[in-house]
């Protein structure tokens, strides 16, 4: 047996022995919360995962991870999926496991790693990110939230927006201006601060899709320890660039064509609602054509991810193809929601109530929420600026991005 096969067998056995069967197939809220009946088992499972280091398995063991390789981490999630198990910790930690943690591992001091990473890896400390501001969206570098040195602390004043989960987070990683006289990108720093303090106030934002995890966050003489500055003073822009790369990586996986698992594929949904002609083709030929375009887009996207993975393993230089993945994933996700809605006709535009099936209502919320995909993490247009400038080497646009 190869090392990986041994690892797979051990992983399978450990999950069998430790995953509470009561949680099998149970659903998890968006923030990784459990319902009341399974709360105790849920907490047991979290603790076992945390002790094993499998909340963030690739992190070093000294910081709460398990120090496993990427292929081993993949095996862990595959084996969990096979047994109906799941890892709730990345959701419970907010932005901790996916974005803050990897960036702290790269830029943090040993002291910062020891202080912050174990809480993230165990799912006990939830993190939010204070990046965008009302007047600094796509043009993030024009942010105004100010941090002044005051003794051993920074004194922070300003407003952040789109801080996901700010109202339930314990810590925040914030991008702040520490030198107003420097050029836009040169006077910015990245600080970490606790949310439970007098100078921090949060206010949830309702979206077109209904309730959302987003908040406005107000800093009014909020405090961050000077020792919680991540990376050098006034060099927060390079820290956040890495952070956003971690964000983009987590956004480039489009949902597989037609959904996976027990969910019906999009073409099955279409056949149910629209019907077929005697040859078995979808009765609406225009819809059939556009559905085909969509499924081809989706497969082309998946094949591109596979190609990049193979390039990374092989001897060739990884091509610039990765730069196109966010926009490609965006088109597929938004296109899928629009097609689903069109297929469902008047049943596809319900807002709430028993007249509509759960999957009909779910698609409406997905459709509305999906409009954000081309806005966050560098908008569709900003992505195209990046490709034209950084990948294709075209000159700086008159509108900079």
């Amino acid at each position: 047996m190869s090392d990986l096969e041994t690892f797979r067998a051990e992983t399978k056995a450990w999950i069998e022995a430790n995953f509470p069967t009561s949680l099998k197939g149970s659903s998890m809220g968006l923030e990784g919360e459990a319902d009341d009946s399974t709360k105790a088992d849920f907490e047991t499972w979290r603790q076992r995962l945390a002790e094993k280091g499998w909340g963030a398995p690739t992190w070093p063991t000294e910081y709460g991870g398990a120090g496993v390789s990427d292929p081993e981490a993949k095996i862990i999630s595959q084996e969990m999926a096979k047994q109906g198990a799941f890892n709730p910790i990345p959701l419970m930690a907010g932005m901790g496991v996916t974005m803050v943690g990897p960036t702290v591992l790269e830029y943090g001091t040993d002291e910062q790693k020891a202080k912050h990473l174990p809480g993230i890896a165990s799912g006990e400390i939830r993190w939010c990110l204070g990046l965008s501001e009302p007047n600094a969206g796509s043009d993030l570098a024009s942010l105004q939230t100010k941090a002044e040195v005051d003794g051993d602390t920074f004194k922070i004043n300003g407003q952040k927006i789109w801080t996901s989960g700010a109202d339930i987070s314990q810590w925040c990683g914030a991008l702040v201006r520490t030198d107003s006289s420097a050029k836009k990108r040169d006077g910015i720093s990245f600080v970490m601060l606790p949310m439970d303090q007098e100078g921090v106030r949060t206010k949830p934002i309702q979206l077109i899709s209904g309730v959302s995890p987003f908040c406005e966050t107000f800093f009014d003489d909020a405090r961050a320890e000077k020792s919680d500055l991540l990376g050098p003073l006034n060099e927060g822009w390079s820290v956040v660039k890495r952070l956003l790369q971690h964000e983009r990586q987590s956004q480039t996986r489009a949902r597989p064509a037609g959904g996976g698992g027990s969910k019906p594929t999009l073409q099955e949904v279409a056949k149910n609602y629209v019907g077929t002609d005697e040859s078995g083709a979808l009765a609406d030929s225009d819809l059939r054509n556009r559905l085909t375009h969509h499924l081809m887009d989706s497969q082309a996207h998946s094949l591109t991810i596979s190609r990049i993975t193979a390039e990374a393993r092989g001897q060739v230089k990884v091509s610039a193809a990765a730069s196109i993945l966010k926009n490609s994933a965006t088109r597929i996700a938004q296109g899928k929601a629009e097609l689903t809605m069109e297929i469902m006709g008047s049943q596809g535009v319900g807002w709430e109530g028993d007249n509509f099936a759960p999957e009909e209502l779910e698609n409406v919320r997905d459709w509305l929420w999906g409009k954000a995909i081309s806005i966050y993490g560098g908008s569709y247009e900003v992505q195209n600026n990046i490709i034209s400038k950084n990948i294709l080497g075209l000159p700086e646009n008159t509108q900079k991005g």
């Binding site: 073409q267 279409a270 056949k271 077929t276 078995g280 083709a281 979808l282 059939r288 054509n289 559905l291 085909t292 375009h293 499924l295 081809m296 887009d297 497969q299 082309a300 996207h301 094949l303 591109t304 596979s306 190609r307 193979a310 390039e311 393993r313 092989g314 001897q315 060739v316 091509s319 610039a320 193809a321 196109i324 926009n327 490609s328 247009e381 992505q383 195209n384 600026n385 490709i387 034209s388 400038k389 990948i391 294709l392 080497g393 075209l394 000159p395 700086e396 646009n397 008159t398 509108q399």
Partner: protein, 368 residues
């Protein structure tokens, strides 16, 4: 670019330098202006034979190198970039594939070495009307003794004037059969089709042409497999042609000055280039996946071949239009090469099924 083996990388480098140094698009222009009937230069074809490209698919026991479809794709892409004209694709790729998939041991032994040494140019004759429709073949092959008697016509036959041999898709009492017919058999006649891309095509007529039982080379299932290989392979050439069009356009965006600045600094054009780049990368993934699927004997070749032909077709269509549009007036002149790429694009799109054909086929394969 797929993660290539050392052998594939070397072949790509060889193809790139040979094509750019010896048979660049300027040579294609000279060929077009010369009016040569075969629509390629003999020295181009001879060079390819000498480099062993005609044997890339053919197993070693029949005189080839058996390097496979992705490897052939690497060469086709470079040829596509400079529009290098030759019967390489029609004979050493499609023709050889048909013999390998449908031929008896004896047919392989007789024909494959001659494809490799270039003494045979074997091309597939399948289309009969203006639209690719291989499921409906009208050309009749009636039983005559132990063999067949063929009556009917084929159109859009690649390298049909240069061909020494045809593989003809014919309708028999037992369904569709592929039949090997020498071009000099009594009753075979042909005339050149002068197409917009200035390459070699023919209408071929079969008027009571008799062949023996040993002419059989497979049935409808083999035809479909051969066509899928052809679709995947022509995708590689198309992507090469389209990639060159992209590179020419990008270069122009960086050098052409209007309103006091290079036009690539205008965001409308920068974003258009970014979108085209995205489509190019997505098409490449489809094309390489289709060729790799053939090499590995995967069962989703039909789906991937249709995906590739449709996606690469969409890309070359848009890219060739943008090549002209972004170059402006100069792109409209015959003196500049852009028109060659536009004209070639449309013929390649029509070959072995258009984008619409393959979207329909893909949907059928996916069950809707």
């Amino acid at each position: 670019m797929a993660a290539l083996t050392e052998e594939q990388s070397m072949l790509r480098d060889q193809a790139k330098s040979w094509v750019t140094e010896q048979f660049p698009v300027q040579k294609f222009r000279e060929m077009r202006d010369s009016g040569v009937e075969t629509r390629f230069m003999p020295e181009t074809w001879q060079g390819m034979i000498e480099m062993g490209w005609t044997g890339i698919l053919v197993p070693e026991q029949y005189g080839g190198s058996g390097l496979g479809y992705l490897t052939f794709g690497v060469v086709l892409e470079e040829i596509g970039r400079q529009l290098t004209a030759s019967p390489l694709f029609a004979s050493a790729y499609v023709g050889a594939t048909a013999v390998m998939l449908g031929g008896s041991d004896e047919q392989k032994q007789v024909i494959l070495p001659k494809i490799v040494d270039g003494s045979v140019i074997l091309t597939l004759a399948v289309d009969e009307g203006p639209r690719h429709n291989p499921a409906n073949i009208a050309l009749k092959a009636e039983k005559a003794g132990a063999g067949y008697k063929l009556s009917g016509s084929k159109t859009f036959v690649l390298e049909g004037m240069a061909a020494t041999d045809f593989i003809v898709a014919a309708s028999t009492d037992d369904g569709i059969k592929l039949l090997h017919v020498p071009a000099d058999a009594p009753g075979v006649s042909r005339e050149a089709m002068s197409m917009v891309d200035s390459r070699g095509y023919a209408n071929v007529h079969f008027d009571g042409v008799e062949v023996g039982a040993d002419a059989e080379m497979g049935d409808a299932a083999v035809l479909e497999q051969v066509l899928d290989c052809a679709r995947a392979g022509i995708g590689a050439e198309m992507l090469g042609t389209a990639s060159q069009a992209f590179d020419m356009t990008l270069e122009y965006l960086k050098t052409r000055v209007q309103f006091g600045q290079v036009i690539g600094s205008f965001q409308a054009l920068g974003h258009r280039a970014a979108e085209l780049f995205g489509q190019m990368e997505l098409s490449r993934s489809c094309m390489e996946a289709a060729l790799q699927a053939i090499d590995s004997g995967a069962d989703d070749v039909p789906q991937l071949a249709s995906l590739s032909k449709a996606r690469v077709g969409d890309f070359i269509h848009e890219m060739s239009n943008q090549l002209i549009q972004i170059h402006g007036g100069i792109g409209m002149t015959d003196e500049f090469d852009a028109g060659f790429y536009l004209k070639r694009a449309r013929v390649l799109e029509a070959a072995y099924g258009s984008q619409a054909y393959h979207r329909d086929r893909y949907a059928r394969v996916m069950g809707f």
